[in-house]
Amino acid sequence: MQAELIDIRNHLAQHAPFDELPEEMLDRVVASIEIAYYRAGSDILEFGQRNNWLLYIRSGAVEIYRRSGELYNRITEGEIFGQFGLLMNKTVRFPARAIEDCLVYRIPDQVFQYLWERDETFADFVEVEDRSRLRSALSRREKSNELMTSRVTRLISRAPVSAPCTVRLQEAARIMTEQGVSALLLMDEEGERPRLKGIITDRDLRTRAVTEALPSETPVSEIMSAGLIVTKAQSFIFEAMLTMLHNNVHHLPVMDNDEVRGVIALADIVKYESQSSLYLVGNIYHQNDIKGLKKISLDVRDSFVRMVNEDANSHMIGSAMAGIGRSFTQRLLALGEEKLGPPPVPYCFMALGSMARDEQLVVTDQDNAMILDDSFVPEEHDAYFLALAKFVSDGLDACGYTYCTGDIMATNQKWRQPLKVWKTYFTNWIQEPSGEALLNSNIFFDLDGIYGENDFAEQLKTLVAEQAQGSQRFLALLARNALNRTPPLGFFRTFVMEEDGKHNKTFNLKRRGTAPLSDLIRVHALACGSRAQNSFERLKAIAETRLIPEDGVGNLRDALEFISIVRIRHQALAIEAGREPDNNVRPEDLSPFERSHLKDAFQVVSNAQKFLKFRYTAQVSRHV
């Protein structure tokens, strides 16, 4: 630095975080500064713009906004801004505007990173400051994502239209036409007050009444959808969207305790958020062949990237992607049934692994199975189910859900069995466990019925929930398996440090991060008899039983969310750059912020694995 610049250096030296910097670092900062002048009212940083500067206000005042346009902060001489974007992905998160004429010192990202890596006080300042800002930023950012923050009641535009459930088809159709609604609520009027019994939709009328040519005198109760799916008035629109995705329904009665407040339709949400993944799902149901589905599957990645850019959290993204995968499967099954005729015996098509856990991303293979009714006779019926399974599996492969390398698919006869056989499978796994068999069947402990007789899958869930918690040996072996994959010991700017001291260039965020986490969360969840499949839901169940200390649960949740979101962002960046997304990350591709927090997250995983070992495997030696 030129001695003549002392005036500029002195100004920086009076303000945090520069006040604590050693002289030679401060000199380096001064030498790197680029000075810019902004008139009052002009934009300094615009949302989404790339930014490679840390900005320091030499004179004037600046307002920082949330992306919704709401004022977030007002800062003045000697204060910095822009560091949040530098720590994340060099993209402006908080737009900034000069509210007075401003002289701004711009410090290049390179120097910022240099200080961040070498000076702890500096790193602490920008980061701690940022962590608190990040937290408030996250909660506020969610506010701007209205799907996540608006209640479903906001979508209700009229009082519910209902009829007694004894009404005939013709009368029901007349009411719907007259009132201009696409769904009619059916009330049980026997009791003191009418109670919601079911719902009938346009689609029910078309597909069931009309195509099956039912007489107009048929009572609606005969075609009424069984198993009423509703949402609570307190639910967020996002939750209602997930309920629709999960259950493949397009209308949801909104309940305030026992009372119906109204009905929301898929179209209401799509109107609200035309870019939502529901829109894609809606399109899936309109396709009549694999070719059409394949074409739509090209939009899945766009939908994924959009959610990432809209700052959705990993739970939301995982659920939406699983919902999309589920819809493809459901549509393929319906098309398969159209082609092959109705199934000879009832069956349930079951999703396994990440789809069942609602934790699916874009790089995923298919894991599925079929539970057949116990009246199943292989010689008579299996040809049908094999053909159906093959149709679905090929279709999924065409839509980007590649075949499962471990052959865990309904096309494999072993995984296409009657309910009673499935019950034996699970009972054997739990009561007579062997390490290796369990390793291969791990994936079956994340299961979800997605088509047909979903009750079959529920029965299996019940069996698991009841038996698993009592089998110490099962839990111990499951725990031991969960320790097979460990997080990296640490990593530096350019390499990963392994436990044996080896250096690697990359690490797999799934194998080393999210998978070990969901494995160990599964063990705890089974130990406490939970029926939940999603890792975050399982953590809630674990917290309630106090199986592990409360802050332990919180740490696991944060670690899972952080590793997942880094993984998600890594894949979204690859897609945007036109590369094939994967799970392999080079430390140098991560921002210092991500590196530092990933280290913390891996530490949480490592500690949780130690606890798991102590908690379950220790008991095995005592009990077995």
Binding site: Q2, A3, E4, L5, I6, D7, I8, H11, V30, A31, S32, I33, E34, I35, A36, Y37, Y38, R39, S42, R58, S59, G60, E100, D101, C102, L103, R106
Partner: protein, 238 residues
Amino acid sequence: MSELGDTRKTHWPDELAQLEEQARDGRLQTFYQAGCVAPETAIAEAPLVALDFETTGLDPDKHSIVSIGLVPFTLAGIQLGMGRHWVVRPQLPLHQTSITIHGITHTDIDQAPDLNDVLNEVLEAMAGRIAVVHYRSIERKFFNVAMQWRLGEGIHFPLIDTMAIEAHLHPDRIPTRWQKLTGKKPVSIRLADSRQRYGLPHYAAHNALIDAIATAELLQAQVLHHFGPQTPVSDLWL
């Protein structure tokens, strides 16, 4: 914008080409050869260099340059790391008064090189750029006389004068006698006072480099406030 000073507009690319032909000193030839941007170039696109001399007095024939500060910049940004500062030995006695202003002592000057020894570096930093100064009489005249004295030929170069811009913006800055009676104060177009009008900070220290930076900042502010980034450089250069 002929009001900015000279009524006769110089076509600087042509002028520099002509100067190159006339020059005898190789350093000057190289400097002129670098030329400058076309007159219609937007100010936002033009490479600029803020230049400031500290001198022993105001008369180029009696006084000398003691230090030179410069910083290349554009309308979008001033890179401090590119800033340069030289103390040079004056050929004429150092006036007692100027010492206090510049903080440059006899000891500094005794060890300083002659302008001729750093000329190459100064010209290299200025080459191809339009100089920006506050009060062109100092930099233009002192540089010219110093070259005449040393090389037997002068130097001429395009420049933008931030003080001339302020003078143009405040044509009635000197109150009439009547106005003085009614309390009107004159508008100062000195560097520090001009900067204040644009909300630019006060620099405590004074040296050629800081003043060059201060001048660069002032031009950024002037252009954004009064002219706009698309203004052709020929509207501003003199």
